[in-house]
Structure formats: structure tokens, C-alpha cells
Subunit: 148 residues, 12 copies
């Protein structure tokens, strides 16, 4: 089965690899996207990438994915903890969504320990740096395949 | 007196009627807008409709309404519970705003039981599906007329 | 279809129109009831009115309505925020109940922001003064008609 | 020793057996009372039954029981979670009171997990449907006998 | 100036003097009322006494006092901490009300430390046993006289 | 119908009857077990008894009971308030479990007022000393019989 | 019996009568003290007055009163809500202390609704302006006389 | 040293001077910007001004400033209290940011008393109306100069 | 590099595949272990498996792993939310530990939304059923390899 | 207009410049006072300086300032978060007070995030080290001049 | 008087001296035990040592100590904050128990600031590294001697 | 090494031995000081004693100790739970401070369970009556010696 999956990145992730490399690593989001594409192609999966800093733009993207995607790998950044609207978009989309985080949010400030989004996602992967995206993608693909 | 009223819809409401019809009904937002227009015209009220998924766009719309509208019927969706900025826009606009919800938010998750917006609105209508818009519009019109 | 609906008013609403008219308006509960009767009659709905200050009396009334009413418009006053027993009565009655408030409770003291009742009602209308009753009645009638 | 015990039922329990039988069973309160009488008579205990929807009426009943009863089996319904006044009546009565619930309140909404009443009762029985009354009665009788 | 004042007592206070005399003293409510009458007569004040265990009955009494009383001394018992409806009745009555407690509620259970009522009363007196009524009455009389 | 039921006791209950007899009574757990056996035999029920101080041992015991028992009477002691793992064991066992407490936990420290376990049990009995076990056993037997 | 009583005033009460007279009245603390002296003398009670803005000075004063006073009327001002140390001083003094407030603290900011002090006082009087002192003094005298 | 600083304004601040002048003053944002430019020019500082109602647009602006600015004066309006994403943008930018508020947020509603943003700013200035901007700018300039 | 990794499973996971297969799948823990071994062997990693229901036994196992393991994949079951002692064991072991959950704990009861353990783990994977173990193992291996 | 302003410093600020210079800088309070005097003199403002470690002494100082000062720059140190009495002194003084902090309290421990004082001040300045005093003084002077 | 005292150590303390020596020091538990034995022998006290990682094993040990010990020095490790069952064991044992901690738990994570155990202990010693054991032992011996 | 240590006592401790001897023992603070001096002299340590009821005086004392002391044994009494200013003084002093309490604060009221001070102290000793001072002194001496 050939699948189409959106890789969706939220606020500030466009700066990946250019700031605080000791925390987030040296890879840019473009570099990670390229490697994800290669990995996906090897298992006959097509990826489309989107990043935005705005809550509304991310909702637009999720709604757009309803037209073409089989699932979404989503790093919602700071909106993880504050956005009911994005939660509603994910829940309303009917798409399987996997939440991915570069860092381990539980080891950071208390306001990052609660998630409005996780409850409507298939699952959560966090703490593995750029590998979190690959793990989330693999988990999503298996989830879609086992559900079909 | 002829009135101009904005019907403002927040995130994910553009999908109305296309997803989860058992919860939200089969009518699209466009269909509801058409019926609202008909109803409004019968009482000499002109409506303008706007929907956006972004918090900032909704604030822009409220500010724009200050130029031409006599009041707003507003379904803020998920921003109801999280947006101080929209609250400030409503309060600062000086316009009478009626908050409308399709579903009964009190019968859903606990984080939907608190509202940052209600305190600065004229009133609240929720739980009546598409009828909530009609009830809110009628209530707003009466409020404007009794206040003038 | 001819409907029978109870208009149920809770504590202190018998004083309506006689105290604090700047907040609650100059109409007495009797005057509002008369206008509601007229409005209801025009759409072939019969109303019965009941008001009591006691929690138990209101529960008695809801249980009584189970014998004859198709629905209830209920302004529970101060019991909105404190009565599990009335919530149980509403939930157990199997009747569609619409909660109505004269004022916008969200713009008042914090202990008025939580409602034990709303979750078991069809919907909520508040903030429109005496118009709240008319809006709630119309919403209830439409709800009953669409459900039958 | 011959004992006199009040079986006291709070709000909405008069509807037992007529509504939501899948939750509360098919027995009416009258049928349960009759069976409790039979059971009690077999161990030389006389029962008197009282039900009311009003907080004040229940307090009146508890005060009345101080004149003649050796103890009370009390299903306080929704007042379990909200009534300091009933707690004061129970504590002030000096009577041993056993709290009984048809359902398991801990498996329901969070506001049913706290009890203002339990701390001043001898004990609590809940979750066994109509059997809760029989178990509570037996427990109360043993408590009275062991205390005398 | 001749004044008329209601002495209003809430739940369980009818048992005063008959139970737990070490806490509440040996005087019955009737005995206290008699002494209050004597004291009031000496300063040309007429008292009317009312006690009820029901929340609704107390609201009825407060509404009744609006017809004839210049003020109320009110021991709300357990309703102090739970009744929004009585708070609304006191606030809506427009009468000066002094809250009186036999015991020091702050030295008892935590749920007695919050009061829904105090904020709408002229003042509070508590902890002086039967003297609390006399102090509250004197304070109320002075308050009425200085305000007139 | 012949039934097999486990009587499961948690931490510190092995000391019953040897310490603080004024609180917990003079009967040892062995003596109570003997009386429970006699009572059970009279209604054709076989009991097996197990006590452990360790959370894991209690989970082992519940899992073991899945092989042979028709239900469990469980006094979880201090784990009532802290163990998600035991809750999972009870919920996952598929067995009907009745929670029993010697004392009235609601009349003790606040951290004993919340229960992680009750929500997954059939029902709760507490406050009747050693009689709590007999009441819980009778309630469990009736529950099993009515469900079969 | 001749009594000696300390009238103790906490922070900012030295400004009484000079600032915000609409809230606190026009009488200075000295004027109130003079009137309290006259009133006390008429019932054979000697008063000593002390005011300080410092927490430590107030504790010193309470400790000093242990040498000579039969009781204390104490307006602790802002320390009511924050001082464990003053609570310890009052509790440790063994003296009967009556807490008095000019205003009704329950009608002010939420942080004024909790009191660390009240639980160790005989009673509380608040909301009657300068009359609060007279009521508190009378209540204290009666308390001392009835306790002796 | 010549510096470049961004003056960044969040939601609703574009309306400054046109609504509620008694709260926010009569100056428009443009007028304040002009005066800030003059002041900045006198100390050899170049300002760029940006205002947006959207959370994402403000994050875009902060990321843009990383290319050219030495620091930011930021009035985040309602996002102060709700935006983790903006906090991440500020923290990730590595730029010194000073938070400025026209009004004293601590004297307003409780939900304005917590700030998600302040912890990652150099400092905070609030309550001085349009002067807050000038003070914040001066403080930022000194901070940059002392840090270099 | 050849690695040795412990697969550690907490309470109730020994029942996997035998109960509630619609939630947890039909695979037993043994079957999953076998597949994990095969997968690990293909990348030159040796696994050792351990499961226990007891908190202390799990701590013993973690301490034991300090002697031989390069990392741990840990499904702590119900202890995730309650065990400070296991947290201390993980933190003190100095080993990289990845937390894995079969289900999405954020979509379950609120007491499962807080984790005492996650903050001291490398990362978290949850919601992918038996695939969670494979994803966690892969993530751990990459983490160890990139850190060496 | 010639102004007189008090520079008031609370607990531990007398140690400024002698301890933890990396946090608080190397300037002593005396050195800062001297520079503030110079700055003030240039705009025709006379300063008086006062520092104390005691809550009562600071209240005395504020009361004293009512006799001669046009406003106060106040660094309340640790009392910011705990003193209702100082809040009352500031509010009762009728003087414009600006709260100043050397460090950014929002970036420190959670108990420093709440302020009892800010709500009754004109404004707040914090995080700029010794410059906070200069900024606060300038802001206060402008505030006084614009209000006169 | 010759005394017998148990030195009881909870989870992870068996690793003392082998991990994180900068926090916990270089001494192993065995070395500390040896020094404690020497110290105890010099004052005619016999010690027995026990360490376990399991909650149940620690309860077993406390129950065992009831047979032979005059008191217990107990470092409960992570169970300090989570175990009601251990609290019950300590309270039920009737033995004087002194709680000892190597580190200052108040200077660590917030979940370590609450203790379920301390309230039933004689006293607490914490923060002195291995000296905490010696101080706790000396304090316990004095406590036993003064109580006998 | 010869050491100089301050023994600092907070509010109400000057009354030790004269009030509530059953709680605090019969020894006066002077008697304890004498015995502490004797004990200290035997290990070549000189003590200076200071007691005050005022928060500011205690801060003054801590600042004074910076000139001459090697450490402080501090019983902060009621300020333990409320004083951020004393915490700042201890933290800013750079001196090792040991917190000592006569009673076990964890076995008293809930507001005594939180400490603002402990986190900045070396360690805590409490619950051993007058022995707490000796244990704290010994612990402090060892701490100083091991740190030097």
C-alpha cells in the first residue's frame, strides 16, 4: 500500500539547527525532512512537509491534509500545552496523528507537563532528538497498516 | 431601524456539516449562513459572515466590525477557553457580542467548562445545534433595539 | 403538534421587577409569564408556571412535570451552582430542560462560573434579561420538534 | 432487644423503579420497604420509612427520629456531597446513622467522590443496588447491639 | 425611633439547649428569644422570631421580612457555607443583616472557614455562645440608627 | 451454586487484634477468618484467605484468583489511596471485587478520603469493624448470584 | 470583679480617622480609646491601649499582657491573614482574645477571607466600624465573667 | 555604539488612542512610535516598529529580528498570559527582550497576574501608560550597553 | 558495537494477551519478547527480559541492570504515576532508560496524565500497542550509539 | 515643580554590593543612593533614603512619608510576596508608589511570582539591576507631573 | 539501660557510596553501619540493620521490630512521600521512630516537600549526609531514655 | 579549630518553660542556653545567643552574624512558614544555617507543613524538644568541619 503522510511542524521549529544546537542538535529542519523523505521512499510512503508559527495556519494545514493524507506526524511545539483549537482540528480531522517532540517535555518546566493534544492522538514519541520524527513516522505507518 | 451584524465563526467551524454529522448536524456553514441571511432580511437586518482558524484573524475581524457593525454573533470555538487576546478585542470593541455554541460545552471535557470570553459578552447561547445561531441573532437584535 | 411546557423558576425570582430594577428590569414574573403565555399560544404550546424558593419543592415540580410536560424552561437561580440533587432530578426526569438566566453569570462572582446543572440540560441561554425566557422557550420547542 | 430504626431516603429516590431501571433496578421504593420490613420483623426490629426531596424535610425527619429511633439507615442522594446542614443534623442527633447508596458513587462524576456526610456516620455501604439497604440495616443492628 | 427586627435561625438551631450542652450551652432557643425580647423592649425594639431547617423556608422568611422589618439577625447554621440562594435573598432584600454564630466557626472543620453569606452582610459576630445574638442585635440597632 | 471467594487483606492487617484493640477490636485476623469460613460454609461458599504487606504480592494474589475464584473481598489498607497498580490488577482481573474497611476512612485524615480503588470495585463497605467483612461477603455473594 | 483588658491595634490603625473617612469613619484611634475607657470604667474595667505597626512589637505586647491582663481586644489589621507568629503568641498567652475588625473583611479581596488568627481566639466581631471595638469588649467581658 | 531595536506590539494595540482613552490615553500607537523614534535617535538608536494581532505573526517578527536587531521592547498584550509558543520564540531568539505594559496588570483580573513570558525577558515595566515604552527602551539600551 | 539491553515490565503486564485483547492486543508478553529478541539480534543487541508486579522487585532489577546493561526499555505500568522510589532507582542507575506504554495514557483517567518517571528517562513512547516496545528499543539503541 | 520623593528599601538590601555581586552588582546601596541624588537634583527633585529589615519599620516609613513626600520608589524585597500590612500602608497612604526590583522575580522561585503589593502601586519595574531604581524614579516623576 | 534499635533503610540506599558520591558521599551503607555499631556500642545500644527496596518488605521489617526493638531509625527514601501503608505500619507499631534523610529534601523537587510519614514519627533529621544517621540515633536514644 | 556559632531563636521562644510545659518542657530558654554553652565549650565552640519576636530583628541578627559567626542554629518559630525576607537573609548571608524545631511541625496544623526556610538551610532537626538544639549544634559543627 502506498501512503501519503504530512510532516507538520509548529512554532519555532523552522529555526532548528541554527540556534541552541546543544539542545536541539545541528540538523536543520530541511535536512531532517530530506532524510525523512529518503526513509519514507524506501517503504513506499510519500511525505509532504509544512511548518508554521501560527495556530490558525496549523489548523488550516490539518484541514488541508484531510483531502489527501493518510496520517500526520505532528510536532506542535508550544501549542501542545495551550491550544484547544488545534486539539479540535486533530479530533475533527478523523486522521491518525502521532505527536512527536524533540526534547523530553516532562524534564522541562511544569507548564510543559500537561498536554491538550495527546488525548486525541494515536500516540506520543518524545525525547529522542531528530530520531523522534523517524520513530513517530514508523509508528504511524504501522498503525495505519494494522488498522486497514 | 436597519442593523448590520457580523456572524463570526472561529476555528474548525468551516468544516461544519462535512464531518461528525451526528454531533454537529448535516448543514454546512454556508447553508446556515444562507438561512440566517433570509431570517435577518425579514427583520431588516443585514449580515456579513466571516470565518477563520487563526486567533489573530478573528481579532482583525472584530476590529474591522467596529467600522460598520452594530453587533456580533460569535462562535469562538476552541478559543473560548484559551484566548485573553480575543477577550480584549471583544471588550475593547465596544460592540455588543453574543457568544454562541453548537454543542453544550458544559457536557464535554472539563477544560471546556471555563470561558475567558463570556464575561465580556452580552450573553451566551449554547447546545441547540444550528438553532443556537438563530437564537443568538434574535437575542442580539433585541438587545441592540432595547439599548438604543 | 401541541406541546405542554413547564416554566420553572427558582429562589428569589418571585421578587422580579420589585427589587433592583436596574439589574433585572421592571417586569414582574407574572408579567413575563403572561407574555410567555401569549407567545406560546401563538405556536400552539401550553405553559404551566411554577416558582419556589426551596430546593426540594423544585425537585417535586420537576418530578411532577414528568407526568404531563414535554419539556422545561428552568431558571434555577442560586441552585445552579450548588445543587447535585436538582441535577439528579433533571437527569432522572428524562425531560429536555433548557437552563435560562436573566443575567450573564460569567460576568459575576467566581462561584457563579461553575454550574452543576448545565451538563444535564439541552442547552443554556443567559444574559438577555426577560428575553432569555423567550429565547429558551423557542429553543426548547425547536429541540422537541426536531427530536420527535 | 427490640429496636426501632428509620429508613430515610433523600431526593429523587421516590422515583426508584420507575426510571432508568437498568441503572437502579426494577424495584420501587415501596417494594424495597416491604421487603425490608419483612426482614426486620424476623429479627424483632420495627422500621419506619420516610422520603423527601427537601433538605429541610430530611433534617426535620432526623430530628424527629431522635424521639423514637435507635438508629437510621440513610440514603441522602445528592445531598451527600453538598449539605453541611444535614451533616450537622446527623452529628447533633446523637443517633448511629449508616449511609447507604444504591450505586458506587466513586465510579461516577468527580463531584460525587467527596462526602460531607460520611465522616459523621457509623459506616458506609454502596454499590449493591437494593441490597445496599439490607446490608446497611444489618450492619446498623449489629452496631447498636454491640454498643449497648 | 421604634424598630422591628427579625431574629432568624437556620437548621438544627431548634435543638439548642437540648443536645451537646457543653458546646452550645443549656439555654433553649425559646429561652434566648425571651431574653432577647426583654433586652430589645428596653430599647424600644420589637423582635419577631423564626426558625426553619429548610433553605427555601429561610428565603421565604427573608422575603417576608422585606415587608415589615428594619433589619435581621441571622444565624444561618450549616447554610452559611453552601447556599448561594440564601446569599441572593439577603443581597436582594435590601435589608441590613448581621450574621451571628454561637461557636467560632474558624476553630472547626475547614469547610466551615468559607462563607458565602458574610460578604453581603453588614457584619459578623461569632464565638460568644448565646451572647453572640445579643451582640449582633446591639450592633445591628446601632448600624440602623447611624444609617438613618 | 457453589462459589469460591478470596478474602484478601493488605498491609498491616496481619496485626489485627494485637495492637490498638480499642480501634480495631480484639479479634485476630485468624479468628475472623475462622468465623467467615463458618458463615460461608453455611451458604455453600468456600473461602481462601491471603494477606500480604507488599503491593506486588497483592497483585500476584489477585492474578492468582483469576484461576479459581468467583470474586474477592478485599481490604487494601493503605494501598487504597495510593496504588494505581492494584487498581489495574482489579480492573484487569475481570473478577467482582468488594472493598471492605474496618474503620470509617472518611472520619480520618484527608489523604484517606480519596480512593484509587473504589471506582473499579462492585461496591464499598466500611466502618463496621470485623462486621465489614461479613457484610462485604454477603454483598458479594448476592452480587455474583444476581449476575449469573 | 475588677478586670484589666488590653486594647491592641495592629498596622496602620494609628492613622484611623485621618485617611479614607468614608470607609473607616472620622474618629481617631485616640477618640475611640477615650470612649472605650469611659464605657469600660462604667463597668469597673480598666483598659490599656497599645498600637504598633510591627509584627514583633505586637507579639511583645501580647507577652507583656500575660503579666497583667485578663483578656485582649485585638484588631490585627493586615497580620490577620499572614502571621503564624502572632497566632502562636495568642495561643501561647493563655489569655482570652477577641478579634475585632472595623470593616467586613469577607466583602473585600479574597486574600482577606482566610484568617490564621481566628481559630485561636474566643470569637470574632467585624463590620461595625468603631462599634466593633465596643461589641468585642462587651463580649470579652461577658466571656471572662462566665468563665470565672 | 549604534543600536537597532524592534518595538513589537501585540494584539489590539493598533487601536491605542482610539478607544477607552481614559484607560489607555489619547495617543495613538503611531504617535508614540514617532516620539520613540525621536527619543531613540537622540541616543543613536534606530527603531523598527511592528504590530500584529496574531500569535504566529509575532513569532515571525521575533525570528526576523534575530537577523538585524540588538534587542526588543515587547508589549505582548493578551498573549502575555497564554502563549508558550511566544515564550519559546523569545527564549530561542537569544535577543534581550524587555516586556512592557501600558496598564498595571496586577491591578486587573486574576488571569492577568500570571505571565508565561516574563521569566525569559530581561525585565518588566508596567503601569506607566505610554511612558512604559520609553522606560523599557531606556532600560533595554542600558542593558545592552552594560552587557557588551 | 554489541549492546545488552533489559526489557523491564511492571505490574499486570504478565497478563498481556490473555485479558482485554481488544485493548491490549492478542500477543502475550512472551510472544512479544520473542519477536523483540529476533529484532534485536539482527542489530547485534542482546536482550534480557524481566517482569514483576512489585515495586521493590523492579528497583532490584534496575539495580541489577547496572552490572551488565547498556540501557533499559521500561514499561512501568501503574507505577508510572505513583513511585518516587522507582524514579530514584532510574535516576541513580545512570543508565539510559526509555519509558514505553502500550496505550496512550493521556487518553485515559486524569491520574494517568502525570508521570513521576518521565523526567528522568531519555524519552517516552506510548500508544502504539506492542509496537511501542520496538520503537522504544530502536530509539534507545540510537541514543546509546549517538552518545558513545 | 520641585518634588520630594522617598527611596524606600526593604529587607536585606542594606547588604547590596557586599554579597553575591554577580547577581546584584558591585554597587552598594549608598553608592546607588548618591547617584540617584545626583540624577534627581538635575531635575529639581529631592530624595530621602530609608532602609529597614522590619515590616513594621517600613510601614512607619510609609506613614512618615505621608507628611512630606510626593511619592515613593519602593523595593520591598521579600515582603513583596507576603505582606498584607505593607499593602494596606501603601494603599492607605494615598501616595503614588512605584515598585522596583533589582532582579526579574518572574525568573526565580514560584513563590516570588505572586505579589500582594503590585496591585496598589502605580507600576512595576524589575530586572534591570541598579538601573531599576533610576527607571522607577523617572517613571514616578512623570506620573506625578502628569497627574498634577 | 541496654537498648536494641533497628536501623532501617529504604529503596536505593543499598547503593550508597557507589553512585553519585558528590551528592551522597563516598561511604557505603556497610561502612556507615559499622561506624554506627561502634558508636552505639559505646553507649550500650545494640543495633540491627535492614535494607530493602520493597514497600512490603519494609512493613514486614517494622512489624518484626515490634518483637525486639526499642525504637527505629528509618530512612524511607522515596517512600517518604508516597506510602500510606508504611505510615500505618509505623503508627501501628507503637515504636518510637526517627525519620532520617541524607539530603535536605526541602531543597529538591516539590514532590519531595510533602511527607506522609513525618507526622507519625518522633522527629525528623535531614541534610547532614551520613551524620544524619548518627544524629537521629542519638536523638532516638535520648527520647527513649527520657520517656522511660 | 575554634568556632563561633549563633543560637538564634524566633518569636515566642522567650516564653519557653513558662507556658504549656507538657508540650515544650519545663526548661527555660536561658537554662537551655547555659547547657548548650557547657556542651559547646567542651568542643571548643563559643556560642552567642539571640532571641527576638520581630522578623526584622531576626534579619538584623543574621546580618550581624556575617561579621563574626561560622554558622547559625536557628529556630525560626512561626516565621518558618511565612517569611521570604528571612529566607533571603539566610541565603544571602552565606553562612551554614541549621533549622531546629522543638516540636514535630509535620504532626501539627497543615499550614506548618510547608517551609519557606528549609530549602536554604544545611539541614533540619525537629521533634526532639530541647534536644533538637543539641543535635542541630552537633550537626552544624560537623558540617563546618567537613566543609573546611
Amino acid at each position: 500500500m502506498s501512503l501519503s503522510i504530512m510532516i507538520l511542524n509548529g512554532p519555532n521549529l523552522n529555526l532548528l539547527g541554527t540556534r541552541e544546537p546543544d539542545i536541539y542538535g545541528h540538523d536543520t529542519l530541511a535536512a531532517i525532512a530530506r532524510d525523512l523523505d529518503t526513509h519514507a521512499a524506501s517503504v513506499d510512503v510519500e511525505l509532504r512537509h509544512f511548518q508554521a508559527n501560527g495556530e490558525g495556519q496549523l489548523i488550516d494545514a490539518i484541514q488541508d491534509a484531510m483531502q489527501w493524507a493518510d496520517g500526520v506526524v505532528f510536532n506542535p511545539g508550544g501549542y501542545t500545552h495551550t491550544s484547544v483549537a488545534i486539539r479540535d482540528a486533530v479530533a475533527g480531522s478523523g486522521l491518525p496523528v502521532v505527536e512527536a517532540h524533540l526534547s523530553n517535555v516532562h524534564a522541562r518546566e511544569p507548564f510543559r507537563h500537561t498536554s491538550l493534544l495527546s488525548a486525541v492522538c494515536v500516540g506520543v514519541v518524545g525525547g529522542f532528538g531528530r530520531d523522534s520524527y523517524f520513530m513517530a513516522l514508523d509508528g504511524l505507518i504501522k498503525h495505519i497498516q494494522s488498522a486497514s
